[in-house]
Symmetry: C2
Subunit: 341 residues, 2 copies
DNA sequence: GATTAGCACTCATGCGGAGAGAGTGCTAAC
DNA sequence: GTTAGCACTCTCTCCGCATGAGTGCTAATC
C-alpha cells in the first residue's frame, strides 16, 4: 500500500503532533502547524481516507485523529529519518565510558542509564549468555589459609571466578597440578557443551584430594549455571510515569511489574534479525502486558557473544530519536569492545 | 506520658484496623471488632482524649480517627510485639540461601527480594564500604597473552580483582616480584588509609616495568574507589503501588524516584545506633520526600564491616511484622557470614 | 462520677444534568 | 478537486443535591 505525497505529509504531521502532545490532532491543527497549501476541509477528507485505510483512528466522533499502530508502522518503515546522537550527547556518552572502563558490568549499567536519560524512555541492556566461548584454562590461586580463588579463562579472554575451600596443608604445586588436569580435560570445549556428566567424569579421573576437586566442581557448576543466565539491566523505568497514557494506575502497575523483574523482560525481547535496529510496535510484541508499549533495540557483540540494548516506551514514541540513539550507542559500544574486551 | 489500659487498647485497635483497611476507624468499629465492654459513646470520649493528646487525628469532622505518627511511635515503643518469621517463611529463607551460597552479592540480592516478598514492602540492602579491612597481599596472575588478573586480598578474606594489561614478554617470575613489592609496601594498611600519594610513592620505588606498574596502580585506585562506595540494592519497590495512600500519581512519583536511584536512598538511611532493629516513622526521617514513609532496618556484619538491611513502606505499616522479619533475617544472615565469609 | 442512648450536625462522596468547546461530516458553491 | 459553512456529536467540567457515615453534645441512667 503506497500513499501519495500529500497523504504521507498529513500522516507524518499527525504523528509528530500526536507524539508531542498525546492529544488527538484535528484537521485545522495539521494545516496550521505544517502549512499545507490546502484547507482544513481537504485535510479532513484525506484524514477520512487515511482512517479507512487503517493508518489513523478516531477516539470518538467529535475528536481529532490519532495514528493507529499500523500508522506508526508505516511511519517507521517508510517515512522516518533516524536522528543520531548530537555532538553534546556524544560527548556525554564518552564521559560515561571514560569513568568506567575497568569493569564491563559497571560500564554496561551506565550505558543503560545513559540511554534512558537521552531518550526519556526506559532502557534495558541484556548481557549475553556465554555459549560460544571455549574453555581455555583453569587456575586455582591460594589467597589465604584454607581458601583459594578458582579462575576459568575462555578463549575470548573472559574470566570467571569463584572462591573455594582447600585443605590448609595443600601445596601450591599440588593445586597447580589439579588445575592443569582440569584444563587438559575441558580444553577447547565450548562452555555450554560442558555437562554435569563431564564434571562427574573428572571427579573420577582425579583420584587425589577429593574435597578440593569437589569444591572446584561445585564452583564450576555454579559458574556455568550463572553464565547461562542472561543478565538484564533496566534503567529509567520511572520515565513511564511521565507519559500521560499511563496515568491509569492499573495500567501503570501492569507495565512496571513487567519492567521491574528480569524474568518477564527477557521473554519480551524478541530474537534479533540482522544487524539493524529493530522496532516492535505495540501489539507486534507477543506479550499482552506490553501491547501498548514499543521496543527499539539492537544487538552488540562482547567477548564474541551477542547482547542486546534498547529502549521501551509508549507506542506514541519518538521513534526517530530512539532508533538513532540506540544505533549510535550500539555502534560506539561495539567499537569499544573490539579494542577492549 | 502513660495511657491507662483502656486507652491503650483503643489505640491499638485503631492502629490494627487502620493498618489493615487504610480507612479512618469509627467508634462503633472499635467496639464491635475488639469487643470492648463499653459502648460506642464511651469510646468516642476516649478517642477525643487520645486526639487531644496527639495520638490520633481526624481527617475531617465527620470521619473516624486515624493514628497520628506520634500514635504509631507510641505503639512501636510501648505496645508492639514483634512477629518473627514463621516456620514456613523460615524454610523459604533457607532455600533462598541454599541456592546462592557462592557469591555474596547474589545472595544479598536474594535476601532483599525475600524481605520484600515476606513483608510486602520495598526492601533494601546496603553492602558495607570497606574501611576496616587491612591490605594483606596482592597477586598478579597472567591469564592470557598480554592480560593478567590483579587480586587484592584483605585480612578478613575479602578478594577484589581487576583485569590489567601486561607486556607480552613479561615472565611470571617478574610479575610475582612486582606483586611482592606491592604487598610489602601496602602490607597491613587499612584500605581506606591508602591514598593517592601512597600509590605515587610505589610508582617511584619500582623502577622496572613502568607500564605494568601504572596499569596495576590504576586498577588498585579503581578498586579502592569502588570499595568506598556503598552499594545499595533495592527490591520490591512496586509494592508501593498497592498502598492506597499512594494512589496520587505525584506522590507516587516522588517516592519512587527516591527509591529508584541508589544515591538518595543512601542518604536517607540514618546511621545505626546499637544492635537493635531501628524504626523511623514518617517525619522522623530527615528527607522530605519520604516523610510519609517509614523505615525499619538493622545492621549486619560481613567481612568485618557493617552493612544494613531493612524495609521501607507507608507510615501505615505492619511494624510488628516488618520489625520481626528484619530482625530474623539479620540474625540469620550474620550467623551465616560468621561461618562463611 | 462514669456510662450510655439519642439526636442534630458536618462533611466527603457519588450522581445527574446543563453548558461549553472542539472537531467532525456533509452539502453546496467555486 | 477544493473550499466555506453549518448542523451535529461527543467529551469534559462544573454545580447542586441526596446519601450516609460518624461525630459531639445533652440528658438520662447506673
Amino acid at each position: 500500500m503506497t500513499l501519495d505525497e500529500r497523504k504521507r505529509k498529513i500522516l507524518e504531521s499527525i504523528i509528530k503532533d500526536y507524539v508531542e502532545t498525546a492529544e488527538p490532532v484535528g484537521s485545522r491543527a495539521v494545516v496550521k502547524k505544517h502549512d499545507l497549501k490546502v484547507s482544513a476541509a481537504t485535510v479532513r477528507n484525506e484524514m477520512a481516507d487515511l482512517e479507512e485505510m487503517g493508518y489513523l483512528e478516531q477516539p470518538h466522533t467529535s475528536a481529532g485523529r490519532i495514528p493507529s499502530q499500523m500508522g506508526f508502522r508505516y511511519y517507521v518503515d517508510c517515512l522516518m529519518e533516524k536522528e543520531n546522537l548530537d555532538e553534546q550527547e556524544f560527548e556525554s556518552l564518552q564521559n560515561v565510558l571514560r569513568e568506567n572502563l575497568q569493569e564491563r558490568d559497571n560500564l554496561i549499567e551506565d550505558i543503560a542509564h545513559f540511554l534512558s536519560q537521552v531518550t526519556n524512555y526506559a532502557s534495558f541492556v541484556i548481557l549475553p549468555t556465554v555459549k560460544f566461548n571455549e574453555f581455555k584454562n583453569l587456575q586455582i590461586i591460594p589467597v589465604e589459609k584454607g581458601k583459594a580463588l578458582l579462575l576459568v579463562v575462555t578463549d575470548m579472554g573472559m574470566i570467571m571466578h569463584r572462591k573455594i575451600g582447600i585443605p590448609e596443608s595443600m601445596e601450591v604445586e599440588e593445586l597447580q597440578a589439579v588445575a592443569r588436569a582440569f584444563t587438559q580435560i575441558f580444553g577447547s570445549k565450548k562452555l555450554d557443551k560442558i555437562r554435569r556428566g563431564d564434571l562427574q567424569q573428572i571427579r573420577d579421573a582425579l583420584k587425589q584430594r577429593r574435597n578440593v576437586i569437589d569444591n572446584a566442581l561445585e564452583a564450576i557448576d555454579n559458574l556455568l549455571k550463572n553464565s547461562k543466565n542472561e543478565k538484564v539491566m533496566i534503567s529509567g523505568t520511572l520515565n513511564i510515569l511521565n507519559e500521560p497514557e499511563f496515568k491509569d494506575l492499573d495500567k501503570l502497575k501492569r507495565i512496571l511489574t513487567v519492567l521491574d523483574e528480569d524474568g518477564p523482560l527477557k521473554n519480551i525481547i524478541p530474537e534479533l534479525v540482522g544487524d539493524n535496529v529493530d522496532i516492535r510496535i505495540g501489539r507486534e510484541n507477543q506479550n499482552e502486558d506490553i501491547n501498548e508499549m514499543s521496543l527499539v533495540f539492537a544487538g552488540y557483540k562482547s567477548f564474541g557473544e551477542m547482547g542486546k540494548i534498547g529502549v521501551i516506551g509508549p507506542v506514541r514514541m519518538e521513534y526517530w530519536k530512539a532508533a538513532g540513539t540506540v544505533e549510535s550507542v550500539r555502534d560506539f559500544l561495539e567499537e569499544l569492545f573490539k579494542q577492549r574486551f
